[in-house]
């Protein structure tokens, strides 16, 4: 790059910065959008079921049944409601008032003290299957606790002769917020990155200012670099705002180093901006660029990135598709950086993938943005 080129680049950069400062929408996308979204989602997105409304039907109360149901009354996971008959409880379930029914039939007490294996009916509303499974897990825990307590008070050997010690690494409280917030940052940054660039180049084409630029001595490479630098800085600013919110507002631990975080965020931002440039160069009008940006960024980053849905449980063919979603690599790194620390065996391969995607997208953008009129 020679002196004249640098001078042209400086001029272009000045123009871009002025444009950003005069049109508040770019600043809004970069700072306001991430902050507002993270504020609402950080609080709102949770998979931790607490106070699950559960119906309890005891047809013949006894001390045994009372000791069992007290497990539910003491648990922070359940909000038990008493019903006299199973029909009433089922009606409440149909009306979505309770998510599960615990049913002790009239022979519960007799069987529990004679033959054992008295059935405890657990009826789950399976519409939300994930929730139903989580509830089933909590019910099972309550039951195992109860068995151990009963045996202990009767001075008998434990009926479940096994002692499970569970150790959840990186997230001992098993709080879903700690894992969802880093993912949210990646989803939100995918949006801002693509939105920032998808519109700006398409707008130049649509307004004819691209043609005006073409007749100057500016090269296409200089135009792309001049577009990239200011939006990269804006995007990184938004990223910094998001990370501070995660750490200071939502108390998510950041166990990795800031340097690594800045490094991988830069790689990701380049990939996201590169993708935006490709979209806008391809679409050449804001309407289509906007449509493509909405379809190719948000939903894939939401569903195919491992943000909520576990990638390793997807069918093979879908797992292959997830490799073209940049957010996938970023989320893997962020979850590790936030909760586990600088684990190089996770960071390096994913960072390499991000770098590769950045190179490919920027390369494509360079190749399809030519000084050419159709």
């Amino acid at each position: 790059m020679n002196g004249a080129s640098l001078q042209r680049l400086r001029g272009l950069l000045r123009k871009e910065f002025l444009q950003i400062l005069r049109d508040p929408s770019a600043l809004a996308i970069a700072f306001l959008l991430p902050a507002v979204l993270l504020f609402i989602f950080g609080d709102g997105v949770s998979l931790d079921a607490r106070n699950i409304p559960v119906a309890i039907v005891v047809q013949q109360p006894s001390t045994t049944s009372a000791s069992f149901t007290s497990q539910f009354e003491q648990s922070p996971f359940f909000r038990p409601q008493r019903f006299l008959t199973i029909q009433e409880a089922e009606k409440a379930m149909d009306a979505h008032k309770v998510d599960a029914i615990i049913w002790l039939q009239s022979d519960f007490n007799r069987k529990a003290h004679s033959t054992g294996n008295a059935p405890i009916g657990v009826i789950l509303n399976g519409v939300n299957a994930n929730n139903a499974r989580i509830i089933e897990g909590y019910v099972q825990q309550a039951w195992a606790n109860w068995l151990a307590m009963e045996a202990q008070s009767a001075g008998r050997a434990p009926p479940l002769p096994i002692a499970v010690e569970r150790q959840v690494r990186f997230n001992p409280a098993v709080s879903s917020r700690d894992y969802l917030v880093p993912g949210l940052i990646a989803v939100i940054m995918t949006l801002t990155g693509a939105l920032l660039t998808a519109l700006v180049i398409a707008r130049e084409w649509e307004r004819g200012t691209m043609e005006a630029l073409m007749v100057t001595r500016v090269t296409m490479r200089e135009i792309l670099i001049a577009k990239l630098i200011p939006y990269f800085l804006l995007g990184m600013g938004g990223m910094a705002a998001s990370v501070s919110m995660a750490v200071f507002l939502f108390d998510v631990p950041l166990r990795g180093s800031i340097t690594v975080l800045i490094g991988v965020s830069s790689l990701f931002m380049l990939a996201a901006l590169g993708m935006g440039l490709v979209i806008s160069s391809f679409a050449r009008n804001q309407f289509v660029a906007g449509q493509i940006a909405i379809i190719t960024t948000f939903l894939p980053a939401f569903i195919l990135s491992g943000f909520i849905f576990d990638i390793s449980s997807m069918p093979q063919a879908v797992q292959v598709i997830t490799h073209i979603v940049a957010a996938r690599y970023f989320i893997a790194i962020l979850q590790t950086l936030f909760l586990a620390g600088d684990v190089w065996s996770v960071i390096l391969p994913n960072a390499a993938a991000l770098a590769l995607m950045a190179v490919i997208f920027l390369g494509i953008a360079r190749a399809i943005t030519r000084k050419r009129l159709d």
């Binding site: 989602f41 054992g116 008295a118 499970v164 690494r169 909405i294 909520i308 879908v318 065996s345």
Partner: protein, 369 residues
């Protein structure tokens, strides 16, 4: 008057469908996304990679291990000889869980003491961690009950008899795929109407439209009905695929489903037109559509339950039409509910639709003067 509105609708449809890129965006991706997301979006765990460190090396511990390796939920990738590798395996996410069978396992079982077992779970994805330990606990309890029974111990006083209604195998796809009906319908409808007015304003044709004899209500109809039409048609294709391709049972009637769909698309059209009328440029309209779409999807109950949200966010979701439609699709599909049971979901959408459409109409007039 109807002829004029009809002409406007035809013009709108042509404007959307004539551009080959725009046409491609509206038809291709939704179907592709239905297929990919339908398979991708599942909370069910299969072949979760685990490692086992058996310090006991006995018949009982081998029996327990066989229960883990025989389960479709787990996939044994490493058999450990020491605990050195545990941290590295978990850190690198090569395994989701390590099962450590203590060396006093058999001894404790035989002497009637609880046999120690340790589960080390990667908590980076807390939902997976919770489900994985749930599955592991089930296997461990089954093993323990069987062992007690085989060794002549008293059976436990009570056992759980779990059954799940509406979705006996708890296949989470039955929950997610009907949700995708709502998700994609909203995206398509917003794409069609959200940018339409801003584009006309930017190119100056909106002023031309205003000087025609068309009344505001006619323009509103002409702008809104194409979205309603395209949204409903694409939703029908997705519903058909849900029933025949993903084989999710449709237990309720089509009438409540389509009533819900109509009100939902109307509400989204109203919101889209409002965003469009508020914006001066396409960039603002796009930003508005995005700013609406992202929270309305994430806070709809599509993936994470509304009941888990704090109260102030739950209140916020009351203004989100997708929240109501998700309940309708899922209830009609899986629970077979009809109008009376779902009445509380229908009227808020109708209200949102009427209010937003009226506001959009009012905004047209204001912008015109």
């Amino acid at each position: 008057m109807w002829r004029q509105v009809f002409a406007l609708i035809v013009k709108e449809l042509l404007a959307i469908l004539r551009d080959p890129k725009s046409r491609m965006v509206l038809v291709g991706p939704p179907l592709l996304q239905l297929m990919v997301f339908g398979y991708a979006a599942t909370f069910d765990l299969n072949h979760v990679p685990i490692a086992i460190y058996d310090q006991d090396q006995s018949a009982a511990s081998r029996d327990l291990i066989a229960r883990f390796t025989g389960s479709p939920t787990f996939r044994l990738v490493e058999t450990l000889r020491s605990d050195h590798a545990v941290d590295a395996l978990i850190d690198a996410r090569e395994v989701q869980m390590v099962l450590v069978i203590n060396q006093r396992f058999t001894q404790s079982l035989l002497t009637g003491k609880p046999a120690p077992v340790q589960l080390i779970v990667d908590g980076r994805n807390s939902n997976t961690a919770l489900l994985v330990s749930g599955y592991a606990n089930t296997i461990l309890s089954e093993f323990a009950l069987k062992w007690s029974a085989d060794h002549g111990a008293r059976p436990p006083p009570a056992t759980l008899a779990v059954q799940s209604r509406f979705n006996p195998t708890l296949d989470s796809r039955w929950f997610i795929v009907p949700g995708i009906v709502a998700l994609l319908t909203q995206v398509i409808t917003l794409l069609v109407v959200g940018l339409s007015i801003a584009r006309e304003r930017e190119t100056g044709t909106f002023d031309q439209l205003l000087v025609t004899p068309l009344r505001q209500i006619d323009i509103l109809l002409g702008k809104g009905l194409p979205g309603l039409l395209i949204g409903t048609i694409e939703a029908s294709v997705i519903i058909a695929a849900t029933v025949w391709w993903f084989e999710v049972p449709l237990r309720g009637g089509l009438l409540p489903l389509y009533c819900g769909l109509f009100l939902f698309v109307m509400a989204v059209t109203g919101i889209g037109l409002m965003i469009s009328a508020l914006s001066l440029t396409q960039q603002q309209a796009l930003l508005g559509a995005f700013l609406y779409m992202v929270p309305s999807i994430i806070l709809s109950g599509f993936a994470t339950p509304i009941a888990n949200m704090p109260d102030w966010v739950q209140t916020l979701t009351l203004f989100n039409p997708m929240r109501y439609f998700l309940v309708i699709v899922r209830s009609v599909f899986l629970e077979g509910l009809g109008f009376t049971a779902l009445a509380s979901q229908f009227w808020p959408m109708a209200l949102i639709g009427v209010v937003t459409l009226a506001t959009a109409g009012w905004l047209f007039r204001r912008r015109a003067s």
